[in-house]
């Protein structure tokens, strides 16, 4: 009979259940069975014929139906599937300087607004030079207009106090070339 091939199979299962008064029919501990499944594959096909609980020969016999074994196999393979996680090799998204540091533009903050204004013409630099995103550039334009209207900022020149401010970008190295 297939007893010889099954001995190893049932032997390992028996070891797991040693010391426990468990008479198993179709009720199984999936973990215990999984260990046993790893060692042999022939055992599964032959379990149909094997007697169920209460056999006097081997009190720790593990028995189950083939459908249950399939179920366990499917569960195990599902656990092996790749885990969903964000792309670990994703490049850092390029961010404009104002968005990066969460800076709020205000019409009263004339110094910050003047950093984006040319010291030669007194006009606002374009998006190709300031390297700001579209939304921030529009906000900047709006705030400059507001501050000029409110009498905080000069319209045609950059205040002399702000000429030595740190440069946020290089006007001679724009993204899209300009003629100046």
């Amino acid at each position: 009979m297939a007893m010889a091939s099954n001995v190893r199979f049932f032997g390992s299962a028996r070891i797991y259940y040693r010391g426990r008064n468990v008479f198993l029919g179709n009720h199984l501990n999936a973990a215990g069975v999984a260990k046993a499944l790893c060692s042999t594959s022939t055992g599964i096909n032959n379990t149909n014929n094997i007697s169920s609980e209460g056999s006097p020969d081997a009190p720790g016999l593990v028995t189950w139906k083939s459908s249950k074994a399939e179920q366990i196999l499917v569960e195990k393979s599902e656990k092996d599937m790749p885990i969903e996680m964000p792309n670990p090799y994703e490049r850092e998204k390029v961010c404009c300087i104002l968005c990066k540091y969460n800076i709020n533009l205000n019409f009263k903050n004339v110094r910050l607004l003047s950093q984006f204004v040319s010291p030669y013409t007194g006009k606002l630099y374009g998006r190709n030079i300031t390297r700001l995103c579209r939304r921030q550039q529009e906000e900047l334009e709006q705030q400059i207009r507001k501050s000029i209207a409110a009498g905080y900022m000069a319209a045609k020149m950059k205040s002399l106090d702000f000429l030595k401010d740190p440069k946020l970008f290089d006007p001679s190295n724009p993204v899209r070339p300009h003629n100046y």
Partner: protein, 150 residues
């Protein structure tokens, strides 16, 4: 009732007169059914450009900020009162709102033009504006094989 900020420049005058000018404006806010919550002075500063208002040229001014709560209908009335004041110029009311930070879209704008979302949008708009005889006809019906063999 919404939170507003009134920024004004008051003429360079002796302290008593500036105080009375600011008080008059605060009274006008109260008349319209508002409450003044904060007075802030940015001091006497040189104006960024010469202002000639009401027949006088000014080079210095006192900058003030007045935070107040008022019904939205009162804002235009308050501004009107400010404009009638001789000693006050450049009145401006802004609504105080919490700043909303949205995602930066610079990485999309840097892309090659044919991949930029704004350019793709423009192309679609142009397609929709084409005359009928040039527009592509609707997609052919799906057949059983999954494609049109003709």
């Amino acid at each position: 009732m919404a939170l507003y900020e009134l920024c004004i420049i008051v003429k360079n005058m002796p302290k008593a007169s500036t105080v009375s000018a600011v008080k008059r404006i605060a009274d006008s806010i109260l008349d319209e059914g508002g409450y003044v919550s904060k007075f802030e002075s940015l001091g006497t500063q040189e104006l960024p450009f010469k202002l000639s208002i009401h027949g006088q040229i000014h080079t210095k001014g006192n900058y003030f900020l007045i935070n107040f709560v008022a019904p939205p209908t009162a804002v235009s009335e308050i501004l009107d009162t400010c404009r009638r004041e001789i000693d006050v110029f450049r009145p401006g009311v802004t609504k105080i709102e919490p700043q909303q930070h949205s995602q930066c879209t610079l990485h999309e704008e840097i892309q090659f033009p044919s991949f930029r979302p704004e350019v793709l949008k423009m192309i679609q708009e142009a397609k929709s504006r084409l005359p009928k005889h040039l527009k592509k006809k609707g997609e052919l019906k799906k057949t059983v094989i999954g494609y049109n063999p003709f």
